[in-house]
């Protein structure tokens, strides 16, 4: 079945040894790492053993020598979550001059390889400075310039003096894209020439709640990654309620707010009357997005091969999913940020197609995926999948056959996990007993 060995994501590096069973508790509960994704340290270790493994990539980082860095910011910034509400926040900086926008625009990364994306990111140095999240209300000069950077419309020329030469490792997290070494900032000059008019307007609107502001920016066509950046640096929301929001949390907060608003509209649309299917393969992931007839409901399921990033288990597959009904959900989804990212992407598809439907997102993660690239990977690839044409399937049997054909993992495993596929196959609708409509 599954071939052993893992391809190195960066050419020239030896494949990493399997982590196998070194994570405490994983043997008893194979979903442990999937549920945690380094966020909660459910295994009880002081640092995530999986992320530690990838410290090996440090060697590949271009060394930024010296305490000064002259270059530009894409624009980009990062707000850490450790120590909340006292956190580290600062700009992401590239030694290149000119436009470096691509380095922090996940919307443009679809179709690129893992190596390319990692390459973009490793050239970014993260400057840090300790701030309190409530400082967003009364920013000092440093935070003020960081907030302005969050509103910038183009790459920003920058000059930075660090307290010590940047060092450290490739920083990885499940939600945000990776980035390179970091160092505390002594002095920074960010030359913001042009700010995004929409971001600027909502930033100066101190009466609009963050929800309203985020929704308005989205309706005006501002990219989700830009909205999220402005959100995390505390430039949106009512006066008195603005906060710095850790990047990891802000990504999911924005995905959640936007998809909720979209789904309000989706629930007003007519029901889809057929089965539709979107498919995509990208970055070692196979995707099927199934639209089922009837009212809105949503489910997202991930299947991880052995020896993939969040399934360090050497032999067994792990499938995990979460779902919501017509009315949505109030608790945090067990599979985390990807749930909301895919919900945003699919809510856009429902609006585009003018139908409400049952959405089931199936994702098969193949052994090549060993670096966490961030939630953008889910959002943008599901977007890419649903932007493409759909296939219409006549029967449930055809749908099941199609799922079986697309994935390596046996159909029965998917069906066992999927609440909505199960419901669709077994639950009858009252329409089946309604009087036949009079011929017109």
């Amino acid at each position: 079945m599954v071939s052993g060995g893992v391809e190195p994501p960066i050419p020239g590096l030896a494949p990493l040894p399997s982590l196998s069973w070194t994570v405490p508790g994983l043997r008893e509960d194979p979903t442990l790492c999937l549920r945690c994704r380094s966020a909660q340290l459910l295994c009880g270790r002081p640092v995530c053993p999986i992320l530690v493994k990838y410290r090996a990539f440090e060697r590949t980082l271009p060394m930024v020598t010296g305490r000064e860095l002259d270059g530009s910011s894409p624009p980009g910034l990062f707000v850490g979550r450790f120590g909340y509400p006292s956190i580290q926040a600062g700009p992401l900086l590239s030694p290149q001059h000119g436009s470096t926008e691509l380095l922090d625009t996940p919307e443009e990364w679809v179709g690129r390889s893992v190596e390319e994306v990692v390459g973009f990111r490793t050239s970014l140095v993260r400057g840090t400075s300790r701030l309190r999240v409530t400082d967003a209300e009364k920013p000092d000069r440093y935070l003020e310039s960081l907030q302005l950077l969050g509103l910038a419309a183009e790459s920003v020329e920058s000059e930075v003096e660090f307290r010590r030469p940047p060092r450290g490792h490739l920083s990885l997290s499940e939600s945000s894209a990776p980035f390179g070494p970091s160092a505390p900032i002594e002095k920074v000059r960010l030359d913001v020439r042009r700010v995004d008019q929409n971001l600027e307007r909502l930033s100066s609107d101190v009466h609009a709640s963050a929800r309203v502001a985020v929704g308005e920016l989205y309706d005006r066509g501002v990219r989700v990654s830009r909205i999220q950046r402005a959100f995390s640096v505390g430039t949106l929301g009512r006066r008195g309620r603005r906060r710095l929001v850790p990047t990891r949390w802000s990504i999911t907060a924005v995905d959640d707010l936007l998809s909720r608003a979209n789904l309000e509209q989706v629930r007003e649309l007519p029901h889809l009357g057929e089965i539709r299917l979107h498919a995509l393969t990208a970055l070692e992931n196979r995707w099927l997005i199934v639209l089922l007839p009837g009212a809105y409901r949503y489910e997202s399921i991930e299947a991880w091969y052995p020896n993939t990033l969040w399934n360090p288990n050497p032999t067994s597959l792990v499938l995990m999913g979460d779902h919501e009904g017509y009315d949505g959900r109030t608790t945090y989804a067990s599979i985390g940020g990807c749930y909301y990212a895919a919900r945003l992407a699919t809510s856009e598809a429902l609006l585009e197609q003018g139908r409400q439907a049952g959405v089931v997102v199936l994702r098969e993660v193949h052994p090549g995926e060993i670096l966490p690239l961030g939630v953008w990977n889910v959002r943008e690839h599901v977007r890419a999948a649903v932007r493409g044409p759909y296939e219409t399937l006549a029967t449930t049997e055809e749908l099941l056959a199609r799922i079986a054909r697309t994935f390596e993992i046996p159909l029965a495993r998917w069906l066992k996990v999927s609440a909505h596929l199960h419901e669709y196959r077994t639950q009858r609708r009252l329409d089946a007993w309604a009087e036949p409509a009079p011929a017109t």
Partner: protein, 243 residues
């Protein structure tokens, strides 16, 4: 345009039943009383209810249809205490005014044209049983931790409800002797989604309800409302075994 005065308990029964399936409902007021029909968004469950005009302390006005946000009626109920009589006045256009004691609460109504008018299928399951709702509730309480569906079986000897999870199972068997009514010619058996069945049974204020069951056939639950001067009916589509 209408003006109703109604006991808090009666309005609560209505709200409990309606909110089981929908968040907005169309209420039809006629000279005979008040009626509502609704279907849940997934078309798995439906409700029909009627309250005779004699349930109301006062019932005046012209035949009207009005769309109501159920959550707002719940808010009005929260302002009242047991034994209170509430007054509901509709101006015929866009405003519903509820009065409880010294409080009056005005609310916007929903355009009834925007609320789905369900076509109630004409189902007539072959067997029926009248059960104490509390008995069924007990079976539901015992099942909710391990399953999402229940199977109802009626045979000439007894009514049985059973539910099964991967490793767990619950059986509730009520023999004919202790049932108020059991009409079964041939044994029948159907499976239903537990979430709907549970919400429906829990919403019923009456001590007894009649379950009409067939083979892989919609369930019909009939129950009294408004101290016997009204009736409610639920329909619930079955689940079928996987192939």
């Amino acid at each position: 345009m209408f003006k109703l005065r109604v006991k808090m308990e009666v309005l609560r029964e209505l709200v409990d039943v309606v909110s089981t399936l929908v968040s907005e409902v169309k209420l039809s007021v006629s000279k005979d009383g008040l009626e509502a029909k609704a279907v849940d968004p997934s078309h798995v469950a439906m409700l029909v209810l009627k309250l005779q005009r004699s349930v109301f302390e006062e019932f005046t006005g012209e035949p009207t249809e009005i769309g109501v946000d159920v959550e707002k009626l719940k808010e009005v109920l929260r302002l009242s205490k047991p034994g209170d009589v509430l007054e509901l006045q509709f101006d015929g256009k866009n405003r519903l005014v509820a009065s409880v004691g010294r409080v009056t609460r005005q609310m916007a109504v929903v355009d009834p044209a925007g609320i789905t008018d369900p076509k109630v299928p004409n189902v007539s399951p072959p067997a029926l049983v009248t059960v104490k709702t509390e008995d069924v509730r007990q079976g539901i309480r015992g099942s909710e931790s391990f399953t999402d569906h229940v199977t109802l079986t009626l045979d000439p000897e007894a009514f049985t409800m059973h539910s099964e999870g991967d490793t767990d199972r619950l059986d509730l068997r009520i023999p004919k002797e202790t049932l108020a009514r059991l009409d079964v010619k041939e044994p029948v058996k159907s499976m239903y989604p537990l979430d709907f069945f549970s919400a429906m049974v829990k919403s019923i204020a009456s001590e007894e309800a009649t379950l009409h069951v067939g083979n892989e056939y919609p369930l019909k639950i009939e129950f009294a409302m408004g101290m016997g001067r009204g009736e409610g009916r639920y329909l619930l589509a079955p689940r079928v075994e996987e192939d």
